[in-house]
């Protein structure tokens, strides 16, 4: 069994306000988070520049194909368009980037001249948060409920059937489900118009809190959300089933039964709460990955979220835009993990962070 000691880290410093500040949970967590984000930012900065090609190379190829320029002509024209010097020192670029980042400036896009990266992220991120976040929430709640249910009826026909079903769901990648839904139900059977459902909302609508716009957003998100739910539901069911089965054998559950507590109270307070604990850690990791894990589905449904934008930026080798997205992913993973820690400790009274005692 875990104890509070296992989570408290190194012992507090001897004395003084500084040692109290440094040893406080909040400050240590913040420092760890910043360190992690810096490490990720640094790693991705250099990794991006190690990719073959650069924005000018990509644009040269584009001009040659689209405008029928010779290589030399395309190179001359491409070099004039971007404020990017392929021969500049990477280390100097890195220092400049870090300096801007400290001032909260994510820079401007290389290929969309004059466009702020923060504007790009603000344009695309909300759609992903809404669509993938909703899908994750639905599949998490459904998966927990179904998983717990079949754990109660383990070794029954229901358990076997649902477990098999969940295994199939979990084994097939979500983009395959997306393609299947489009091709089978949209194209072959013609049950819905796939063209009408592409994008984030209907053309011609002005974004706002109007019934027409909200309804349009919901309709357009339906298929991507459905695919996310189908693609992740299986693993939630199986994880919850396994966790619940384990908890059902614990002594405190038997004691609760012996005390004559109602099955409903046992299920929620004793079994469900404990069985859900490991899943919350998984949920936190998944929340962090929501932002980066949506590329293929968003491309498939032409749903212009941050994943689709990342794909676009990579294809153009737009370094600053890519860095912006990777920063958002890094921050979201770090924040999600901090939230998971807090949530974990509030759900499990055995686990308390030192600062709260």
């Amino acid at each position: 069994m875990q104890t509070s000691k296992t989570l408290t880290g190194p012992p507090p410093l001897e004395s003084g306000w500084l040692s109290r500040v440094v040893s406080s949970y909040a400050v240590r967590t913040l420092l760890q988070a910043l360190l992690t984000i810096w490490a990720v930012v640094t790693f991705t900065f250099f990794l991006i520049r190690l990719m073959p090609g650069n924005p000018i190379d990509v644009y040269v190829g584009f001009l040659m194909n689209q405008s029928n320029l010779t290589y030399g002509e395309a190179l001359q024209q491409a070099a004039s368009q971007f404020s990017f010097d392929p021969n500049a020192s990477v280390f100097q670029q890195y220092l400049g980037y870090l300096g801007d980042l400290v001032r909260g400036d994510l820079g401007t896009s290389i290929t969309s001249t004059g466009t702020q990266v923060v504007d790009q992220i603000a344009r695309f991120l909300p759609w992903t948060l809404f669509c993938v976040g909703l899908g994750l929430l639905i599949s998490f709640v459904l998966g927990m409920t179904i998983g717990m249910l079949i754990a109660y009826y383990r070794n029954s026909v229901l358990d076997t059937a649902v477990s098999f079903f969940a295994s199939v769901l979990g084994a097939v990648p979500d983009y395959i489900w997306g393609l299947l839904i489009l091709v089978v139900f949209g194209v072959q059977l013609g049950w819905f118009n796939i063209g009408e459902l592409r994008g984030t909302y209907d053309p011609g609508l002005t974004p706002g809190f109007t019934p027409a716009f909200i309804w349009s957003v919901v309709r357009h998100a339906f298929l991507p959300v459905l695919v996310y739910v189908i693609g992740t539901l299986g693993s939630w069911i199986l994880n919850m089933r396994s966790s619940t089965t384990s908890v059902l054998g614990e002594d405190y559950v038997n004691v609760a039964r012996a005390r004559g507590l109602t099955p409903g109270r046992i299920a929620t307070t004793y079994v469900g709460r404990n069985a859900a604990l490991p899943l919350f850690t998984l949920l936190a990791v998944n929340i962090g990955l929501v932002i980066g894990g949506s590329v293929i589905i968003e491309e498939l449904f032409v749903y212009k979220g941050i994943g689709s934008f990342l794909f676009f930026s990579i294809s153009q080798r737009d370094y600053t835009s890519m860095q912006g997205v990777f920063l958002v992913i890094a921050v979201s993973v770090v924040v999600a993990n901090i939230l998971a820690d807090l949530l974990y400790s509030s759900l499990d009274p055995r686990v308390r962070i030192e600062g709260e005692r």
């Binding site: 466009t115 063209g195 609508l205 212009k304």
Partner: protein
Amino acid sequence: MVWRKLKLMFKAFGILALLGSAAAQEGTTFYGGYPYPVPPDGHFNTFATNAINFYSFYSDLLEPPLGVYKWAEGEYEGMLAESFGFDDDNNYVVTLKEGITWSDGTPLSSADVVTTFNVNYLLNSPIWEGLQRVEAVDERTVRFVFDEPSFAAERQVMVEPIRANSVYGDFGERAATLISEGVTDEDEAFTTLLTELTEFRPETYVTSGPYTLTRENVSDARALLTKNEGGFNSDVVRFDNVVLWNGETETVTPLVTAGELWYGTYGFPPATEEAFVAQGIDIVRGPLYSGPALYFNHTVAPLDRPEVRRALAHAIDRDENGFVSLGDSGVAVEYMSGMSDLVAENNVDEAVLDELDEYDYDPELAAQMLTEIGFTKGDDGVWVDDTGKRMAFTLIFPSDYSDWAAAAENVTQALNEFGFDITARGVLSQQQQQDVYDGNFEMAIRNWGAASPLPYVSYLEPYRRYNGEGQFAGEGTGGGMGFDTNVTYSGGEVDLLELTLASSRGLDEARQREQAGQLAQSFNELLPIIPLWERYGNNPLNREFVDAPPSDDPIYQNGTAVPDPFMTYLLLTGGVGPAAQ
């Protein structure tokens, strides 16, 4: 039971979806597709990158050029231009058609043309290498004054989309000042104005074509082009609207099969193409005038010997190579002239073409050719040259280009069967390209040919781009394939790069035809690279919805993507319309 519920759920969803969707556009609509960036990346400044103008595939519908080159006929047809050509002083003079108005109500005038080309000065457009100035003669006449006229310059004038002076006039005037003062891209005034230009974001897209595009008609999913009543040929086009679905090949494929995308410019995999055909969708194959070739590093012996390369050309079945790579759209090269067969037929005398070796597949002849220069086969069945070097090489190819990867594997198999020991290695395309620029290869698959009616453009690839010019890309050390362009062939001694560049200058058609013949002949004899096949498009055209010319119509020689694509020409001129239902 479950199936019925599922069906009901989706059907209800489908009905609800239709209830909530925007009203369908009025009139007849053409459904095509092309990936475009959405705001804030996408915008209406068509001089800057990431403009929402669908580039050469559909941009003519919005901002038509002065003219379109008709490849089968070998001549330009005026679009915005009423008349055009070089005058007695070798200036290029264009007179605009009357009665065309921009979507903001401004009449089309010579000021639009002057502004377009002056602004292009800021972008280092190649036309300004030989252009002195552009001047408006009168309201509808423009004169281009060149240092040295050429057909290349004519093409650059004719195919450039003309932009609205009402939008870019200020940039045009300021650029004209810089031009007259001799300010170049090394001066701050130039770069300041260029930055201002590339960051400029017009609120509206002012168009002179038969269609226009408004901000509210651009969504993530599709762009709706509506009629510009005063625009060029707006009374001729047979579709009232054009819908262009957003997305790459994979995302538009279901739309094609669902009958919601009627014509696609994408490169579909052969298996997908088969599915389209099975569904009754026609496949139109316009040429791309280029394809993959086998490149050699000429600093690696004995790949520098023409006899070896010629022998290898006989050891590769180019028909098979094209078919396994791209099905019916991979067409084996016939003339092996260094330019597309269609370009060769238009630019090289028949007598010269008749003399060209077509390098038929003949492994026995290939073996005999190697034996004649002292090659022998070792105990392991692999050829050894006259110095004792075993013929073992690595062939690099772009692993992310599926058709080129297939071509590389087929070449490897063919050469290994012939008695070479080739190891094929896939490398990400951009890295592989850089490796070739750097000369860091033995054999490689890269492109040959070019979608230009002017032969010299095709030869710039092997003689300049992949032969040292690539070093200017920024990362490379140069060198490329290390081919010495000072050569001797049956026509004598010649510097092939000089000959190539010389053939691009002037207006003497007879001389240029002769030079094109020399280029073709020398390439054919020396084979600095081995062209494998020409790529043709495999564009689905759903004739259930679109009335279009039959697949053998000469207009399809215009290809899909070059500045003169057949579909925009057909749309502009009323050559396509709604099919009779």
